[in-house]
Structure formats: C-alpha cells, structure tokens
C-alpha cells in the first residue's frame, strides 16, 4: 500500500520536473517579462508531492510497516517513537529522499522569492535546478528506492544501529542536508547567471540570502556532529580529522569563502568570476563528499550506510555536473577589468579567500592522497591528525590577525591612523598571554602565537561591540558575533588542548586508583534493564585531592538486543570550568575494566563559541530583512 503511494508520488514529481523544464524553455522564448502562472502552480504541486512522499515514508516508520524493505532493515517495533521517526533519515534511502525534498523545496522558494530579478535568469535557474532534481530522482528510483516492498512481509524489523539512537544524531543529518543541498540553488543560479548574462550586483543580491541560510545550517550541522562524536564515541575528543568530518569541511571552506567574496561583488561589482567558481564548487564539493562517504571509498570510523554500486552512479552524475559547469563557464564568461586597492576591505576578503582555498586544498589532499596511492600502487596508507594539525594550525595565526584587522578598513581606501590602534590591541593580547603563561602553565612558541592571535581577535571584537552599543556600526553585529565566536573557539580549543589531563588504566571492582589530582574509587557495578537495552553501570567515586570535592560518575556498557550490539556510554560531568569524562570498557568478561579518565578544561565553552559562529549567521539573516 504505502509502497505504491510512495512510488506514485515520486513518479509524479519526476513527470512534473520534465514538464517544468519544458514549459520553462517555451516561456524563455516569449519576450514578456513575466513568468507564466503555470510554472508556479506546477512547482507548487511538485513540492507538495515530494513532501507528501517523505511523510508517507515517516508513516511507514511510525506504523512499523515492514512491507517496505527500508523500514524492515532500519526499524523495530520496540523502538521509541522518536527514533522510529528519526530512523526515516538515518539510512541511505531515506536520507536521499530528504535530499530530493530539499532540492525541490529550495527550487520552489527561489522561484517565489526572486520575483525582483530578471525573468530569463530565474527560468534558467529553475531549469538547472530541475535537471539536478531529475538526476537525483533517477538515482533514487533506480538504485536506492525507499519504497521498495518485500514479500512475504516480515513480522519484525532488524532495528536501527544503537549508536544512531541519539537525539543529536536525529537532528544532525537534516541540518547538514539543508546546508549541503541548499548549495544547489546557487549552483543552478550561477549557471543561469552565465547563460542569461545576468551578473554583477544583482546576481549577488539574488543569491546572498540562500548562501547565508546554507552556511548557517552547514555550520550548525557540523557542530552537532562534533558534539555527538564527543559524548558518543568515547575517546573524549571532538574533532578527529576523520574522512567523514573532512568531507563535511570541504564545502564549508568553499561556502565561507563565497559568503565573504559575495559582499565584494555586491558592494564593488568585482570578483564576479571568482564568485561563480565558488558557487559551482560549493555544491560540487557537497556532492563529492556525499559520494565519497556513501560509496564506502573513504574508510572511516563512522560510515554507516555504504555500498559501492551507489558510488558509480553518483560519480557519473558528478562528472556530468563538473563537465557542464566548466563548459558553460569557459564559453560564457566575459572578462572584465579589475582593479585592486591594497589598503581596502577587498584585500582582506581576498586574503580570507586565499586562506580558505589553502585549508580546502590541504584537507582535500589529505583525504584523497590515500585513495590515489591505493589505486595506483596498492600501498595502503592513512593520513592521520598530525598532518592536518601541522599544516593548518600555524596558518590560523596570521588568519586571525587579518580577521581582526580586515573589517576596520573601508571599502576603497583607508587612512593609516587605524594602525595605531592595532598596536595597542596587540600589546594587550601579549600581556594577557603572558599572564596565562606564567600563572597557569608553560607551552610552546606556536601555542603562544595562537593565544596572542586569538586574544587579539577577541579584544578587537569586544571593542567593536562597544562601538555597536554606542550605535556607530549598526549592520556589523552579525559579523562581530561570528568573528568573536571564532576567536573564542580557537582560544578555548587552545586552552583545552594545553591543560587537558588524561589517564588510562584498568581496575577491578573495589579497587582505587590515584592520579596526581584525583582519587578514583571503583565502588560497584549495577545492572539496569530497559525496554530497548540492558546496561551495566559502573559506580565511580571521584575525589578531588585539592579541594576534597566528591563526585560520582556512572559510565555504562549497554547491550542492545535489536540489532544485538554493544555500546559504551561515557559519563560526563560538565561544569563551567571543566568537563570530567570517564569511559569504561570490558573485554572477554575479564575482571578488569578498562578505564579512560579525562579532565578537560572549558569544554562547554568550545560548544558555546562554535554555536556563536553559527548564531552570527542567523542574526545576519534577520538583520537584512529589517533593512529591506
């Protein structure tokens, strides 16, 4: 039943896509400056049908309709309702349907909200967006159909991977998908802009809000994924330089560069070609990331659903996208003269773009090099975190200095006077760094530089806030929040890295371990039985030897039955100044439990400052609306 309805809805979406492209092409030839009413109607129908198909799948999951293979493979009757619903997009087929949904919704919204712009440009955008929709719809129908049925109907499902049964991971994919797939609309718009010769300031205005929206969601999605990795994967870190994480960073670097250079295009009408390249590459990188992750080519610690046959289709579609993007770019791009003033905001925005490009190339190299080497020479290697740390971290220092200075410069030319102020802020930053260095602990030269640069950026942003309160730079608040967030993020990561304490040991029940700051007493284990899993809970008494504060930590070993899986849940005590983090594992029912204990200063502030970065983006969205 549901299977037929679902496939019917998808098929109608597909037909509507063809229709829209056809009518749009006819409409292009008519010289009237208005888009035909029919196109709006068809687009609205298309949106309704895809959204309905997604709801049909959700209903399948809620009602545990195991006649759908997808539900059978990824759900179970005893699963809590929340995870039944989240299970809809927790698997490959369902997440692809979500992907198509976002493509279609963005296509309709762009059509509705772009009425101030050129008709030809809008129609071309619609055509390209629908070509993308078709591409992914065919993939969905031919290779990964979430509505495939199974007969005889199984009585019980296989269940969702327990590690995915988590609130953070329920919202993580939709956030990231809005961010990644949202890029599709300005991919299409960039192609349309080249074809319809609609460039410059107007083009910048037509896509800027879409860039901001997808930037905000990408940022938030990456943060949520990182928070999940911190408390679920049990090793106490939050960034692993894992291929999957890297795949999500690539489009983020491109889109961050785009967001900055778009301002130049809007204000100064230069950098058009560069903006187009960034528009095209952001979405291409999003699809590349998805391709690498979904196909199983990237060997990652958290690849959940992968299958090589999927890779081939996405690879084909991806090459088609890149090829047509390049062809149109070189055929249609017209050269414009370009003047750069060294002492202007543009220079700094360009510098931002160079840094972003450098980070992007670094991460891409680290990610792809092992794949190439394996294919060419059959030598198996992996590139670990040290590579990324060594290449990226030193460059964050000049990057942050420029981030602090850049916004102070005016658009065309600036006076030398502002340089005096920078001098005092640098002195302030050095003083604060020296204070931390002498009173809390010593660290390397590079760390010193990082702290100074981070504090420099923070101080600058704080000065900007003071200015904002005095009502001098009204439109700059979003930028200030995001830049301040970034400064704080680097600062707290630095502190966290510098002053973290970690100890690994094995304990039997009843034993005590002394470290130089804590006494850890493994008092007892308790057994808990819930509907979804059984748990072995460790009772650890932690005594802080310096202030005699006693705390209890309860890490768990969970045994899920559907499917049968073991997970280790970390015990985390979060405080404003630090996190205590303890995980325990047990091998072959040995008497000894393996313990990992960590004291991580200012952990919560890493999350707060990274959320600030995303929050800055969201305020910018509301800000500009007020202005219009």
């Amino acid at each position: 039943m549901l299977s037929n309805i679902g496939i019917g809805l998808i098929a109608s979406t597909l037909i509507l896509s063809f229709l829209i492209i056809y009518i749009a092409i006819l409409n292009l030839k008519i010289s009237r400056q208005v888009i035909e009413k029919n196109i709006y109607k068809l687009s609205l129908f298309q949106t309704t049908f895809t959204v309905l198909s997604f709801f049909v799948l959700i209903i399948g999951f809620i009602s545990s309709d195991f006649s759908l293979i997808n539900v059978y493979e990824n759900s179970h009757t005893t699963k809590p309702l929340f995870y039944k619903i989240a299970g809809t997009w927790g698997n490959h087929e369902g997440s692809l349907l979500l992907w198509v949904n976002i493509l279609v919704i963005f296509s309709y919204l762009f059509l509705v909200f772009s009425h101030a712009h050129d008709k030809k440009f809008r129609l071309y955008t619609l055509i390209f967006q629908n070509i993308l929709i078709l591409g992914f719809l065919f993939f969905l129908l031919l290779n990964s159909n979430p509505f495939n049925s199974i007969y005889p109907i199984p009585l019980e499902g296989l269940g969702l991977n327990p590690i995915l049964q988590d609130p953070a991971l329920a919202v993580h994919p939709p956030l990231l998908y809005v961010g990644f797939v949202g890029c599709s609309i300005y991919f299409s718009a960039a192609m349309a802009s080249l074809l319809s010769d609609y460039g410059g300031k107007l083009f910048a205005q037509s896509i800027k809000n879409w860039v901001k929206i997808s930037w905000c969601f990408q940022t938030l999605g990456i943060i949520v994924g990182s928070i999940w990795a911190y408390y679920e994967l049990g090793w106490g870190g939050f960034w692993f330089w894992d291929p999957v994480e890297n795949a999500s960073l690539l489009p983020w670097f491109a889109i961050t560069a785009l967001m900055h250079s778009l301002i130049v295009l809007e204000k100064r009408d230069t950098l058009y070609a560069w903006v187009i390249i960034l528009c095209l590459s952001t979405f291409i990188l999003s699809v590349t990331g998805t391709f690498l992750v979904r196909s199983g080519i990237l060997n990652s610690v958290h690849t959940f659903a992968s299958d090589p046959s999927r890779g081939l289709y996405i690879l084909f579609f991806l090459s088609l996208m890149i090829f047509s993007a390049l062809t149109i770019f070189f055929l249609k791009y017209k050269k414009k003269s370009y003047n750069l003033n060294l002492k202007s905001k543009e220079t700094f925005i360009l510098a931002n773009n160079w840094f972003m490009a450098f980070f992007l190339i670094t991460v891409l190299t680290g990610m792809l090099y092992p794949i190439f080497l394996d294919v060419l020479t059959n030598v198996k290697i992996s590139v670990g975190p040290p590579f990324f740390n060594i290449v990226i971290i030193p460059l964050v220092v000049p990057f942050m200095f420029l981030m602090g200075i850049g916004p102070k410069f005016g658009w065309i030319k600036s006076k030398n006077k502002i340089l005096n102020k920078f001098f005092f802020v640098i002195l302030g930053a050095i003083a604060i760094n020296l204070f931390i260095f002498y009173f809390f602990g010593k660290y390397s030269l590079l760390s010193n530089l990082i702290f100074i640069a981070a504090i420099f950026l923070i101080l600058h942003s704080l000065l900007d806030i003071k200015k904002f309160i005095n009502n001098k730079n009204k439109n700059e608040l979003p930028r200030i929040i995001s830049h301040l967030g970034f400064g704080l993020l680097v600062f707290f990561i630095g502190i966290n890295h510098q002053f973290s304490f970690e100890e690994d040991f094995n304990l039997k029940v009843g034993e005590i371990k002394k470290t130089n700051k804590y006494q850890i007493n493994f008092k007892n284990i308790e057994i808990k039985d819930t509907k979804n899993y059984k748990a072995v809970i460790g009772v650890f008494k932690l005594e802080n030897l310096k202030n005699n504060l006693v705390q209890y930590l309860n890490p768990e070993i969970r045994i899920y039955s559907n499917p049968e899986t073991l997970t280790y849940e970390a015990a985390i005590k979060t405080k404003i100044t630090s996190d205590l983090y303890l995980t325990m594992s047990n091998v072959s029912r040995s008497e000894y439990y393996n313990i990992k204990f960590q004291d991580k200063p200012f952990m919560i502030w890493i999350w707060i400052s990274s959320i600030m970065i995303a929050f800055g983006g969201f305020t910018r969205l509301t800000f500009k609306k007020n202005e219009d």
Partner: protein
C-alpha cells in the same frame, strides 16, 4: 613599453605563483612526514628495512584466547593466519573489539614481534570488516 598597471599585474602574478609553490611544497612535505603505512604481521616479518618507532597501522584478527589484562594495559595477539604479532595497549577499547574479530591498531613497533598501540580502531557496524583485513584474510585462508 610596459605601463605601470601591467607591471603591477605581472608582479602580482609572480607573487601569487611563489606563494602557491611555497604552500604546496609545505603541504606535500608535511604529508610525507605524517602518513601512516598499513601493514599485516606477515608484511612486517618480510620487510627488511622496517622503521621501528615510526607511527604505523597494523591489522588482522585478534587471536582466540590471546587477550590478557593487567592493571596497566591490555595485551593481545593479532594474526593474519600466517604470522602473528603481540600488541599492547592501554585505555578503553572500542565496543566491537573482541576475540576472532578484525582489528586495526595504530602505534609503533618496538621490534618485529611487538607493537605498542596508541589507538585501536574498530568499526561501528558489527558486520563490517575493514577492507585491508578482508584482503589479508582472503589471501591466507583458502
């Protein structure tokens, strides 16, 4: 004659070119320093010029009844059904770590029979076998 504008542009291009060369050679140099080679116990035995103390990865199956645990660390034997290597590790293991299951350890060789791991990798999916290990096993078990 070259105008000032064209001169500036040429300098700018040369500048960008030099910067990119520096950046790319920096990336490649650090990459070569920080790659981790993957090896099987047999490959370790057979390689003559193996580097002790350099970070690398070793993979295979955890041998049955080989896990021993004391107060400080966990020791186990990894086999590719031809050769074996002892691995010692301290810390919590991933939930999929078990006897007769595939494992990848990251760390350093102290000699050809003994490996100290900093990190144990195991995958989230219980049916999943790391491709490197799959290849080794298919080669040795007929």
């Amino acid at each position: 004659m070259l105008t000032k504008k064209i001169k500036n542009r040429i300098f700018f291009l040369i500048f960008i070119f030099l910067i990119s060369i520096v950046a790319i050679s920096f990336i490649i140099k650090s990459l070569n320093k920080n790659i981790l080679y993957f090896s099987s116990p047999t490959a370790i035995k057979q390689t003559e010029d193996i580097l002790f103390g350099k970070a690398m990865r070793v993979g295979g199956m955890v041998k049955k009844d080989s896990i021993t645990i004391n107060q400080k660390n966990i020791q186990f034997i990894v086999t590719d059904f031809e050769n074996e290597i002892s691995i010692s590790y301290s810390g919590t293991v991933p939930s999929l770590f078990a006897e007769e299951k595939g494992v990848v350890a990251e760390g350093r060789l102290t000699d050809k029979n003994f490996f100290v791991a900093d990190r144990i990798l195991a995958k989230h999916d219980e049916n999943y076998m790391p491709p490197e290990i799959k290849e080794i096993i298919e080669k040795n078990v007929k």
